[in-house]
Symmetry: C2
Amino acid sequence: MADKREMFRNYISQQGLKLTRQREIILDEFLRAAAHLSTEELYHRVRKKHSHIGYATVYRTLKLLAECGLAKERDFGGGQSLYEVAHRGYHHDHLICVECGEIIEFENARIEELQKQVAHEHGFVMTDHRLEIYGRCAKCSSS
Amino acid sequence: MADKREMFRNYISQQGLKLTRQREIILDEFLRAAAHLSTEELYHRVRKKHSHIGYATVYRTLKLLAECGLAKERDFGGGQSLYEVAHRGYHHDHLICVECGEIIEFENARIEELQKQVAHEHGFVMTDHRLEIYGRCAKCSSS
DNA sequence: TTAAGTGCAAACTTTTTGCACTGGC
DNA sequence: GCCAGTGCAAAAAGTTTGCACTTAA
């Protein structure tokens, strides 16, 4: 987490941007979040402690975080996009409960491999992918 | 295609809805489209021939088509959602060129199987999934 | 000092909705 | 004739932007 703040500072200065109090607050609150956050949710969390911070700043900062690789924008449909803390080095996909909304992250090397193969078969060079599995989680299935 | 119109009529009457001229026009134009259409695009196509049809009607009809299984809503990000003609019976995924925007549909039974397995490992019962592979297509890679 | 950043409100984009009128059944 | 559907315009909902003021470097 400390290294992520470091990364942010590096990026900021490299780009000739400025490290403002707001950006630090928003970054900290973002890193504190375990799950996938909407801009709205992050805005409210930030607001609880720092009521002066505006909506636009949260949007702008979240974009900045995505730009520098600390955040990843995810669009699961349903209007707004969610951001998650980027786990550097490995790609993961999502398992989403259609009933309670729980989101579980997973990795599967075999699937990744097959994807690359499919892309190749169609003459594509794969740059990214996204896989979401929807279903009912254990809790929701039993009840 | 004729059977799809039939399906639509059946659904309409079963639900106690009405088969209006607008709905027929929109359905026809939708079925004519080969690729993935945004509501906006469909609206413009419909408008060319029938300038009296409103935006809201296109939205409402597209929702109706999705409801009765004739259309599938796809959200590739980028603001608006796209609809595609639902190919009944099999599920397919998408390969998307990040440069020219071309969308190719594919199926891969092995990947599907692995997905079901992943869901199972996490106690999920899979109901649906979505897989998108992003990359550069042959044309865009070479140029 | 000075250019980037902020907060606010207004603008924009996509989608939905309220309502009076129209038209299938 | 009834009630669902339509077209329009207004409202929502999410996001972006213009601008005058503030602040990090």
